[in-house]
Symmetry: C2
Subunit: 207 residues, 2 copies
């Protein structure tokens, strides 16, 4: 055995998650296999079963990591604009788009229903709900500031989240025509969408 390697890996579970994320990022979803992940982590192809019941469980763990990362990015963007509700909304949405752009494959697997049944992964459900709570909070702040309409905050949060999520999803899937993407930056398209939601006239979204 090579130096530094023991029979017992130590932290194989996290090593497998890291290896999986690396394969995903570099080679894409189709290349992600348990056997390759095990090989990358330096163990036999059956070793992962000591830590994950099946491939789905590994994917769930990768998704959970992705959501934690996304949550941190959103939280950071919003903290940077504390006291300016509209900027919190816009920069939060922009952080969402940047996360999806920089971590395309992880973003895709997070929302690609590679998971059959979400129910069985409580850690994943937790972080998704906490992330949604962040959106609800920024919506409430903007409603108090008279920027968003006073509709039920959860409803407004779903509408806004859908708009931002749908936009970056369609762009990443290549569904938005190239001619449009040449005419307008992603930032401009996002601004246009969000300005539909806002009561203030011509908000200065464009960076």
């Amino acid at each position: 055995m090579p130096k530094g390697k023991q029979y017992h890996h130590g932290d194989l579970k996290n090593a497998l998650i890291e290896a999986g994320i690396e394969i995903l990022s570099q080679e894409g979803l189709h290349a992600l296999s348990l056997r390759k992940t095990a090989q990358k982590a330096g163990v036999s192809h059956t070793a992962p079963y000591a830590h994950f019941s099946d491939k789905q469980a590994l994917i769930a763990a990768i998704c959970t990591e992705g959501f934690k990362h996304l949550y941190a990015d959103l939280k950071g963007a919003m903290a940077r604009y504390e006291g300016n509700p509209l900027s919190q909304l816009v920069e939060g949405a922009w952080a969402y788009i940047e996360f999806a752009t920089k971590n395309t494959e992880i973003f895709k697997i997070m929302f690609s229903s590679a998971l059959e049944k979400e129910k069985d992964y409580p850690a994943l459900v937790d972080i998704t709900q906490i992330t949604f709570g962040l959106v609800v909070e920024v919506v409430k702040t903007n409603q108090k500031a008279g920027i968003l309409r006073p509709t039920p905050p959860e409803l407004m949060a779903v509408s806004i989240w859908s708009s931002v999520h749908g936009l970056i999803s369609l762009i990443l899937e290549g569904q938005v025509s190239h001619t449009l993407l040449d005419q307008f930056t992603r930032r401009q398209i996002l601004s246009h969408t969000l300005s539909q939601f806002c009561l203030v006239e011509a908000p200065n979204f464009n960076s």
Copy 2:
């Protein structure tokens, strides 16, 4: 050989597409394989290669069928409300959501970037562009009627499409909390989202 079967199938290509759609609808994306599709069509597992260069090509053909179906549904909904721009917009969006709900697995594969490179399937690119053109048209009609803001129509079309697409995607992925879906119908959430785009006050969206 069973009666009615010849060595030459006749229309194997379409039979394979149909078989693929059936597997997809009944067993889901993970169960869709070339070998199973061939078996369902009653041919050997290598026969598909006479009509499709690889699995991606079969998926592209299935996606093309899906978009044709979606286009027909949208066109139908809009034709039913000719002369009423706002209803055309709302019912078109609703038809999109109904298509996704009734053909969940096909809808997912259509937007799940199971295709690596869209470029190589001109029939698929064509129908997606024609479908987007439908959205642009209904946007223009609503702008003329003073219902939507006079922003560039393609930009408005992308914003609205994103909102509707994002909404049904998040719902189908199970990302929208059950408590919210118990409180509001899909129709109500859609209405809430679209009403943000409209200049008319409190449009009577709820069916």
